[in-house]
């Protein structure tokens, strides 16, 4: 809220050189002065009102808080009786009657009728104050309407002025809207009123949305001579719900934060007096209906409890003094402080609330010393998921990948937001791949094609029973070459291709202690139909990887031959949990290493060759490694040679040449049966 210092000075003495000090004091008391504007009218504070303190939404409320914080003298508001001199002799005329049919929604309603007003522009001093307080939002209307706004800003109590001659018999009914009822509001919009929205009505129809906005038909015009001035107390929740279904206004902002019911009278008479003084006329009638009396709340607060909560030894007299400055009536007794809560503080309901008031005003949080009464005395534990993610990220970073962290809100997904901010953030992601493609596309447009990226994070999917599940995915994208930036080395010697992607997957599985993964051809909508594989461990499918299809890489602007992987993080986590670390002792006897280079048709998968060779090599085979794949002239069309390096070792002794040759022969035989041609 904009609080002009000039206006504040009506209630407090504020020397120019204290403006900054007081802004800081108010901020540290809880009413944050976000900035001090240099307005043509003088300095203006911009305050940030917390949702629990509707009483701060006024100049007077701000002054009252500052007075309490700084122990300053506060000018009292004029009593309602100050308007008495404007009462028309006799006051007999029953110009208005008020019926509250909805006492839950409207606790109190006061109507003041002023006759003989002359409508015109508000005086310059009043306009200047409104301009200072409202800034660019200020639009001068007329003297009466401007006065109601003035009083609202001064005291926090919204008011509304009707042209009484537009209300048949001056009969006012406060009730909920009936189905289909309509109203043209002051902003010119015709609105169908949601059923039950609290309305001010004449004998048959709504003339104003209570606490939110008046109607056009009953507004003050140049012809108005008889003004009905409404001040009322409305239920915060009713106004909030009504405003959300219709529109929000300065009035609804205040009512939904609770307005002191006692202000109905104070604000009403303040506005009436101003109208009589400025627009002329006299008060000829007064109708006040109180459906619910102002609650008188009391809170018992034990000093011992207050001190315990704050962790500070606050002096009892200092505490009581601070509470009294806030308008709380403290009955001093030997036991607990019996606190009478002022009607503008509905937020004070329990002992702990009193502790807060003592803490911020009697002690001051700047004086609260750091203490640690209890230390846990041992290191905490990270969550199992966080521990797993750390291992996972480490493995991928060690493989040379750059981590990315992307938005959960995207333009496409299986779960939509009901109230998105923009279409590009309208859904929850159901895959990490589109974000990775987006990053790669942007990089590619910047001329960067050498990428090795990964992300680990949840995706969001609908589940049965209208539940939402958040599976963990581990996805990545690689393109170009890991060696592209190195001079003198041919990048194509080590491309970030399918086999690089597979290497990453294998390194990850190895780091997580997961063994026995099988790779087999797979299909995936984003991937090349013959360059994609799925990974399974036992019966669990862990994920997919492969080269992006030409269509995808073209449409996404990603480098050709880029590869992606997309793994099930939850499955990896479950498998990783089941592994235990173990080591083998170092061998004591020498190994025998032999290479074999069988030639096969390309249709024979390496996995098949490997499986066959391993099975035939016998128990002394320590390892089998692929050394080279060669295709070329001399082998024949569609054929390739696979150079295998077999390492044999006996745990308990040295292998003889005969034993090794016997095993090799068995491998040769098996590979020949598989269709291989063994060249020596």
């Amino acid at each position: 809220m904009r609080v002009p210092i000039q206006w504040l000075r009506e209630y407090l003495e504020i020397p120019d050189d204290k403006i900054a000090t007081y802004a800081e004091a108010l901020t540290m008391a809880g009413l944050e002065v976000e900035e001090t504007l240099e307005d043509p009218s003088g300095p203006v504070w911009v305050t940030k009102i917390t949702p629990n303190r509707g009483d701060w939404a006024s100049i007077y409320g701000t002054a009252r808080e500052l007075a309490a914080a700084e122990s300053m003298a506060l000018t009292a508001l004029p009593p309602p009786a100050a308007a008495a001199k404007h009462f028309h002799g006799g006051m007999a005329e029953e110009a208005v009657s008020v019926t509250i049919e909805d006492p839950e929604g409207c606790g109190r309603f006061q109507g003041i009728v002023i006759d003989g007003v002359k409508i015109g522009p508000a005086p310059e001093w009043l306009q200047a104050r409104l301009r200072a307080a409202l800034g660019d939002r200020y639009r001068p209307i007329n003297n009466v309407a401007d006065i109601t706004n003035y009083v609202m800003l001064a005291l926090g109590q919204p008011l509304h002025a009707f042209d009484l001659d537009t209300i048949p018999d001056g009969k006012i009914v406060v009730r909920g809207a009936k189905p289909g009822e309509k109203l043209v509001t002051l902003d010119g919009d015709e609105r169908t009123l949601p059923e039950g929205v609290l309305c001010i009505c004449d004998f048959e129809k709504p003339i104003s949305i209570a606490g939110i906005m008046g109607g056009q038909a009953t507004e003050i015009t140049e012809k108005t001579t008889r003004v009905l001035l409404e001040t009322a107390h409305f239920d915060p929740l009713r106004i909030r719900r009504g405003a959300k279904k219709t529109l929000r206004s300065e009035a609804s902002y205040r009512f939904e934060r609770y307005v002191d019911p006692e202000l109905v009278r104070t604000a009403g008479f303040m506005a009436a007096k101003l109208i009589c003084e400025i627009a002329g006329g006299a008060i000829i009638s007064l109708a006040e209906t109180i459906a619910r009396p102002t609650p008188k709340n009391r809170v018992l607060a034990r000093m011992e409890r207050v001190r315990k909560l704050l962790g500070a030894d606050v002096d009892r007299d200092a505490a009581i003094s601070a509470l009294e400055r806030l308008g709380i009536e403290v009955t001093r007794s030997a036991g607990a402080m019996d606190c009478g809560i002022p009607p503008w503080r509905p937020d004070l309901t329990i002992e702990d609330d009193i502790a807060e008031e003592v803490g911020r005003l009697a002690l001051g949080y700047a004086n609260l010393e750091e203490k640690v009464a209890w230390q846990i005395g041992q290191r905490g534990q990270d969550s199992p998921r966080a521990l797993f993610l750390r291992r996972l990220r480490d493995a991928l970073v060690r493989a040379g990948l750059q981590e990315v962290v992307t938005h959960s809100l995207v333009s496409e997904g299986q779960l939509a937001l009901r109230n998105p901010m923009a279409p590009e953030y309208g859904y929850l992601r159901d895959s990490l791949l589109p974000n990775l493609l987006g990053i790669a596309g942007r990089a590619s447009r910047e001329g960067i094609r050498d990428l090795r990226l990964f992300e680990v994070g949840p995706v969001y999917l609908p589940d049965t029973d209208a539940k939402v599940i958040e599976p963990l995915r581990v996805s990545g994208l690689v393109s170009g070459s890991a060696l592209e930036s190195l001079w003198g080395i041919r990048p194509e010697a080590y491309p970030s291709d399918f086999y690089f992607a597979r290497g990453i997957v294998e390194a990850l599985l190895s780091a997580l202690g997961i063994t026995g993964a099988e790779f087999s051809p797979a299909s995936h909508p984003l991937l090349h139909p013959f360059r994609a594989a799925k990974i399974t461990v036992g019966s669990v499918e862990i994920g997919t990887f492969g080269e992006l299809s030409e269509g995808v890489s073209t449409s996404q602007d990603v480098a050709r031959r880029a590869c992606v992987f997309d793994l099930d993080g939850d499955a990896l986590s479950a498998l990783a949990l089941g592994t235990t670390a173990s080591t083998r002792s170092l061998p004591r006897y020498p190994a025998v290493v032999r290479d074999l280079a069988p030639v096969f048709g390309r249709e024979v998968a390496f996995a098949e060759v490997e499986r066959t060779a391993r099975a035939a090599a016998g128990s002394n085979l320590e390892s089998l490694r692929l050394i080279d794949v060669y295709e070329g002239p001399g082998l024949g069309e569609g054929r390739r040679s696979l150079t295998l390096r077999l390492t044999f070792r006996l745990a308990g002794g040295t292998l003889t040449d005969g034993e090794v040759e016997e095993a090799l022969q068995s491998v040769r035989l098996a590979l020949t049966r598989l269709g291989g041609e063994i060249r020596s």
Binding site: G30, E32, T50, P51, P236, K308, L309, L310, G311, D352, D353, A355, G359, Y365, A366, E369, E370, K371, V372, A373, W374, Q375, I376, G377, Q378, R379, G380, D382, S383, L396, V397, R398, G400, L401, Q402, E403, V404, V405, T406, S408, L415, A416, L417, R418, P420, M421, L428, I439, I448, R452, L453, P458, Y460, P462, A466, V468, E470, A482, L483, W487
Partner: protein
């Protein structure tokens, strides 16, 4: 004979001195000390032709001459080899100013690095971490946190609701959590309720992603991250909260960091404070207050709902934004850069 010996020795030393390389030196070696035709070794054969009384003296003189020649040879060999090695190495000279060659390393995202540091500080202070979902139930996000139904406090937490068979702002509605506080406290307290003996005292924390319908600018995004911590114990106070936050501040921002409390309002704490941390820029040496989040004593309504006797037990809680930490730490002025993932940005960390 002695004269001849002297002449040959002189000749040999001269040849050694003049040898221009190891090859020439080997030739000189052979010419004078060679077993077959060496001039010096040849003199040994003449020993028999001398008178017996002359033999010992000449033999000794010959031997001494041989030792001197051998020494000269060895010395010259070392010198020549050193020269030749230097020559060879000169030819192997490389341009040491060419760039190094190492496949670029992988990196963690700057947010991850910051979050890891935060976790480390919290773990050291005895916090145990739990995880909650990003898509949360209204019950945990608001209801458990003492939000009166439809309160203006919710305007500060403008919430994304997921489309589904539920009514917004009612228990059961799925929303994107607006803070990590609800997941943490609601879900933990529900477990406390379910267990026969509440395992107090405890310190529990969570770190994760949150969402609010906030306009995007340099320091605001609809997606942000928070770390939340809370504790329930006998007799803990607002001063304890300030103490723990002070320890966290010093763990994250250095030994001179301190904490400032300012009154603030959140429905789930009473009293409630805004937390600011004094941060000194390493670049400029200037300090300023960073407003990082909210904190306070857990509202007794929540403790009661979780089954605690509020006369005996108190609790504190805080939630700190974790996106401003990497911003100040790395001097990043635009929050959006972190989730945009321009590789030219990420490559700088």
């Amino acid at each position: 004979m002695t004269d001849e010996l002297k002449a040959i020795e002189k000749e040999a030393l001269g040849a050694i001195a003049q040898a221009s390389g190891t090859v020439a030196l080997a030739e000189a070696d052979n010419a004078f000390l060679g077993r077959k035709s060496g001039k010096l070794t040849g003199l040994l054969k003449t020993l028999g032709s001398l008178a017996p009384e002359q033999r010992p003296a000449f033999g000794q003189a010959l031997n001494e001459a041989k030792v001197r020649v051998e020494a000269a040879l060895a010395e010259k060999k070392i010198a020549l080899e050193a020269t030749e090695r230097t020559e060879r190495e000169r030819g192997e000279a490389i341009d040491v100013t060419l760039p190094g060659r190492l496949a670029p390393p992988g990196r963690l995202h700057p947010l991850t690095r910051t979050f890891d540091d935060v976790r480390e500080v919290f773990l050291g202070l005895g916090f145990t971490f739990v995880d909650g979902p990003d898509v949360e139930d209204y019950t945990y996000n608001f209801d458990w946190l003492n939000y009166p139904s439809d309160h203006p406090a919710m305007d500060e937490q403008d919430t994304f609701y997921v489309e589904g068979p539920w009514e917004s702002q009612t228990p059961g509605a799925r929303l994107l959590r607006t803070h990590t506080t609800g997941s943490l406290q609601g879900r933990t307290f529900e477990k406390v309720l379910a267990s026969a003996t509440p395992n107090v005292p405890f310190r529990i924390a969570t770190l994760g992603r949150c969402f609010r319908r906030d306009a995007m600018d340099d320091t605001h995004s609809h997606t942000f991250h928070q770390v939340d911590g809370f504790s329930v114990a006998e007799g803990i106070s607002l001063a304890d909260l300030k103490g723990v936050l002070g320890q966290i501040a010093r763990g994250l921002f250095g030994p001179d960091s301190k904490v400032r409390f300012r009154p603030d309002f959140f429905p789930f704490v009473e009293p409630g404070v805004e937390v600011a941390i004094w941060w000194v820029s390493p670049a400029t040496g200037e300090g300023r207050w960073l407003e990082l989040g909210g904190a306070g004593l857990i509202h007794p309504n929540i403790l009661k709902r979780a089954g605690f006797d509020t006369e005996k037990y108190t609790g504190w809680a805080f939630g700190l934004g974790t996106d401003r930490m990497p911003m100040v730490r790395y001097g990043v002025s635009n929050l959006r850069l972190f989730l945009e993932n321009d590789v030219r940005f990420l490559g700088q960390f």
